[in-house]
Symmetry: C2
Subunit: 333 residues, 2 copies
């Protein structure tokens, strides 16, 4: 490996000067800069970022923790982040937490050991207190898709209660009153909030909430299918079903068809997230838009601004979901 030292000798300058041209810091005369550049390309020099990081105490690396890599949700989010970071020449070190508190902590720890300049965390198992304490320790981090009051400034999230409310509100507006709900894993905040929103809409419309119309799934398509089967088997009557996310909604659609119900004529279905394929289903899935890419992008800008002193960026801390009307909902006959 050719080092800065060799370059400096070849160019007849000191290594400090070479460092200056590499980092474009300090002042260096045009002529020396050229000489250094020439020496670098002649020797095939490749900057050693590891050494630079040690010396400068900056790694230009952002640690990223997400629950899983598969599925289209986190890819979209990371895509939004990456777009902003790439331009700033930062990189992402990615780890998965698997919704398990120990793994999540372990990963955060590992990222910190690697001296990431900042962390972007979508963690679901670790406690609020733990995250708050990290912030108080001076760790630069932004929590996405989760809101923690004490560190609201470090959070970028969606108003899931509002989303749950709006979804059910839409169903009510078009005339449904018997509305089933297939929830996500209820140990997760977003699943809870979405369900709360659902209940709030019912209450507001003076429709009694019935436990028997709610099924707890796990955000996977399969649990949507199972949810509908269970609901149907229980003899519950409903003309519409709201789901905690689009995957479960598509699973639900499969079970409904299997039971001979037409969508939306017999049963309306509404999802949540508006992931890519929601529009490919047929009919297209009515759902709540989750601007996940935007959230990822904002998280990046938060970091750029806070940690690297980039220009002020206008991000919001709590975004609003909005209804995407497609073909799976209609008025009951």
């Amino acid at each position: 490996m050719v080092t800065i030292k060799q370059v400096s000798e070849k160019a007849g300058v000191s290594s400090a000067t070479v460092s200056r041209v590499i980092n474009n810091t300090g002042t260096v005369k045009e002529k020396t800069r050229d000489a250094v550049m020439a020496a670098m390309s002649e020797l095939g020099y490749r900057h050693n970022v590891v050494a630079a990081s040690l010396a400068s105490n900056k790694t230009h690396t952002i640690g990223y923790v997400v629950p899983e890599l598969h599925g289209s949700f986190f890819g979209a989010m990371m895509g939004g982040t990456e777009q902003a970071l790439r331009q700033a020449k930062k990189h992402m070190l990615i780890a998965t937490g698997h919704s398990d508190a120990n793994i999540e902590k372990e990963q955060i720890d590992a990222l910190l050991s690697r001296r990431c300049d900042a962390l972007i965390l979508h963690v679901e198992a670790v406690s609020n207190d733990y995250l708050v304490s990290l912030v108080h320790q001076g760790v630069e981090l932004v929590v996405v898709n989760r809101y923690i009051e004490e560190i609201g400034d470090n959070c970028i999230s969606l108003d899931n209660t509002l989303g749950g409310y709006l979804a059910t509100r839409h169903l009510l507006d078009i005339g449904h009153t018997n509305i089933a709900y297939i929830a996500g894993s209820l140990f997760k905040d977003d699943a809870i909030n979405r369900l709360n929103g659902h209940r709030k809409a019912l209450a507001e419309a003076n429709v009694a909430y019935q436990d028997g119309l709610t099924y707890e799934g796990n955000f996977q398509a399969r649990s949507g299918t199972e949810g509908i089967r269970a609901l149907l088997a229980s003899g519950a009557k409903f003309s519409a079903v709201a789901c905690g996310n689009d995957e479960m909604a598509s699973g639900a659609m499969i079970a409904l068809r299997e039971a001979g119900r037409r969508i939306p004529e017999d049963i309306s279905v509404i999802g949540y997230d508006n992931i890519d394929f929601a529009s490919y289903l047929s009919p297209g899935l009515t759902t709540m838009d989750y601007p996940v890419q935007k959230i990822g992008n904002m998280a990046a800008h938060w970091v750029l601004e806070r940690v690297y002193g980039h220009n002020r960026f206008d991000y919001e801390h709590i975004l609003n979901p909005r209804l995407i009307l497609r073909g799976t909902t209609c008025s009951p006959e």
Copy 2:
């Protein structure tokens, strides 16, 4: 930040010994180990991986280049990789190449500057020669989803020609002879190979290939929709359509329905990749399984074995796709 030095003083040993217990190398007496451990937790020591990397010339980091982060394909692949790497305590530094040769090269360069121990590359724009020369320079890398003969050992790919062949073969087997084809971007190897497979199957069945029945899309759903519209508008007759991937197939389905064609009664559709949501469509999409997670996993094991001397793992260099029969194909009446 507390350093190894401070720990060593607190524990009354040398820093070399502390390093030994951290890395579990060399020999250290039970009792001293305990003393060091105690000192570490008392001081809240956090290992500095950057410094360790510089000194040991190993970063335990794998660089990963994919075209994009969104969509479900690359997430699945990276998930397969991550699973294996996490157990080995390696981390992934992720970059996107956007199917642009310059960006791809830039990113590879950046990852190398960060001294990744190895690279996993899904690159589509950079030339074979460039990759070959990297390998010859001694860069440890594995190319996924692409096969380059000179460095076959460094490649893990799918036999796309076979996949294209099998898809069309299935259509032929059930009686179709007028088969349209919606291809991916034809500057990409996989798109070309899939199309070649399609043609091979036609030839084998003595069905003439007609240019007018092939449409070049770009692997996005929208282009599937446009493809069908164009094909229909051109007056071409076909009872089945094979697509370069599932996204385009779902886009095609939308356009077919919009034109009043029933699937599969009027037109059979077959996709490629078997991404998650293929089974959520209705009817479920018949497609070719692309074991992408497995490929990601094998890439990880290749690295583990080659770069870190882990146990021999049994990976294949060229995997075979297989037909997944669902509801979008049937015999023409």
